[in-house]
């Protein structure tokens, strides 16, 4: 057994033991008591049956690649003035959130900045991207500022403006992957990560880094590779049936945007980080982690760190460990594929099948954060009217007259949330199977060879589905 195979086996074993030992875990799905007709674990079995039946159906009914060639048509023209208008709105919204963070109350729940960043932007934009395509690109404040800066420089310097440097291919999307993990670290690990002023300062610092990068390598190359949010939302937008281009809106079958994904250096890291972050977010609220974390914290405190620093080291370790386990699970599937046919090496296969992780990451995000968006997202209603969290008198509606609104926890029930979560996980993983099967046929040439190569990817999909349902069921217990 090679070192890599041993590592893959150990990762699989660690994941299985983790799943066995934990009686429950938690996520953002705490929505109240459910009254389901069957036990929650039976949903896991049903999801597995759906995946296996889908796999067999694909093997029989999908003999030729159907998604590899781009099939889109122009739906309607889009006025060119919309791009700068959307960019200006994005810059205004960014400034508004930063101002609220700097000038408003330090109580996170009463200040606009934390909810705007962690709920509306981080979670809400993913949902928008899945439905309407890469809308973020139009509203991205740093992209809009970068383009405006480029336009002004072009006007002033004319032909004397130097060309941007070529973006280094070997760096690829690694800056975006590191940016994602850094954002997750601030949100999930750093004890000051919910302070409005800290968030505002970090947002400005991020925008400055983006502007410097864009000025060196060009707006498009930089946002396509190094802007963590641009890359993250752009990946999910490929699932959408809509694609925006300067001057036109195109329509295509859902998922059809994924096979053309250029999974260059760092793309896989972005996707594995996205799944790992969501998994750790759920896992870190569960009893395994709440049992283990104090022990680890004491261990680090014993090495001379303060209690707060030791706690953050513990959570950093947990975040990286869970992300590593997710990556290990994917590598198990890739190495399993290699055992069926030695035609391609593992790196080539990982690159060819990276896009199949996009619907899985989307499924995890929808399943884990749907209830957060459904409930906490409503807070934007009153926070927009009172962004600084000022003490208002009774009946004072604030800026937009909505400051007295409250969150309605009754508009969607616990059962409905659970069905959305299960549905998202099953649909996301079936979509992953479809993409993997389609790519395998294109790669191996025959449906039989393609199906054989996907045996272990099916196991990975079933494992990811069971893990997701296990995390959610515990959260809803």
């Amino acid at each position: 057994m090679s070192a890599r195979s041993r590592l893959a086996a150990l990762t699989g074993a660690a994941w299985l033991i983790g799943l066995c030992l934990a009686p429950e875990a938690s996520a953002h799905g705490i929505v109240g008591v459910q009254d389901l007709p069957i036990p929650r674990w039976l949903f896991g079995w049903a999801a597995t049956i759906v995946l296996v039946v889908s796999f067999v159906a694909l093997a029989v009914l999908w003999p030729k690649p159907k998604l590899q060639a781009s099939r889109e048509r122009r739906l309607l023209p889009v006025p060119r003035f919309l791009d700068p208008v959307c960019g200006a709105l994005g810059v205004f919204a960014f400034g508004f959130v930063v101002y609220a963070g700097l000038a408003g109350t330090e109580v996170p729940a009463a200040n606009l900045a934390p909810t705007a960043i962690y709920v509306t932007a981080w979670v809400g934009v993913v949902f928008v991207a899945l439905l309407f395509g890469d809308v973020w690109a139009a509203f991205s404040p740093w992209r809009a500022l970068g383009r405006f800066g480029g336009w002004v420089a072009q006007r002033l310097a004319g032909d004397g403006l130097p060309e941007p440097m070529a973006y280094p291919e070997r760096v690829g999307r690694w800056p975006a992957a590191i940016g994602l993990v850094a954002f997750a670290w601030v949100e999930l690990v750093w004890t000051r990560g919910d302070e409005p002023m800290v968030l505002a300062v970090l947002a400005v610092a991020y925008a400055v880094v983006m502007l410097v990068g864009m000025s060196l390598y060009g707006v498009d190359a930089w946002t396509r590779n190094a802007d963590a949010f641009g890359v993250y939302f752009g990946l999910f937008a490929r699932i959408s049936p809509l694609r925006w281009e300067r001057g036109a809106l195109f329509v295509r079958p859902p998922l059809a945007g994924l096979p053309s994904l250029d999974a260059g250096t760092g793309t896989l890291a972005v996707l594995l980080a996205a799944i790992g972050i969501t998994t750790f977010d759920g896992f870190s609220e569960g009893p395994i982690w709440t049992d283990v974390a104090p022990e680890l914290t004491d261990l680090f405190a014993g090495l001379g760190f303060s209690q707060a620093v030791a706690l953050q080291i513990t959570f950093t370790f947990g975040l990286l460990l869970v992300t590593g386990l997710v990556a290990g699970l994917f590598w198990l599937g890739i190495n399993g594929m290699k055992t069926v046919s030695t035609q391609y090496d593992a790196h080539r296969l990982a690159r060819e099948f990276a896009h199949t992780l996009v619907p899985i990451a989307a499924a995890y995000i929808v399943a884990h954060y749907f209830s957060l968006l459904a409930y906490q997202g409503q807070a934007m209603g009153y926070l927009l009217s009172n962004p600084l969290g000022d003490a208002l008198g009774p009946g004072d509606g604030g800026l937009l007259g909505t400051a007295q609104w409250t969150i309605d926890y009754g508009w969607v029930g616990a059962n409905a949330i659970w069905y959305v979560q299960v549905g998202a996980l099953v649909i996301g993983h079936v979509a992953g199977l479809i993409l993997a099967h389609d790519r395998a046929i294109a790669l191996y040439g025959s449906a039989r060879e393609a199906t054989r190569s996907q045996y272990w990817m099916l196991a990975v999909m079933v494992a990811f589905t069971s893990l997701g349902l296990w995390l959610l069921s515990a959260a809803n217990a």
């Binding site: 009686p23 007709p37 069957i38 929650r40 896991g44 597995t48 296996v52 196991a459 069971s466 217990a477």
Partner: protein, 56 residues
């Protein structure tokens, strides 16, 4: 239905029930892969050339 809905949900070993389908699928795939491999080896095995016919 109510009895079924609460079956095992409150026990720690309910977590194992999430693992069971994974194990079944992995076992099934393992067996299928092994059989495919065996079949492939059989197909690749050289056929025995006909020996000299024994003199009557």
């Amino acid at each position: 239905m109510t009895v079924l809905a609460h079956l095992a949900s409150d026990h720690w070993w309910a977590s194992l029930l999430y693992l069971l389908p994974v194990l079944i699928v992995v076992a099934g795939i393992g067996i299928t892969s092994w059989r495919d491999k065996r079949r492939g080896e059989d197909d690749d095995a050289p056929t025995t050339p006909p020996g000299p016919t024994a003199a009557p």
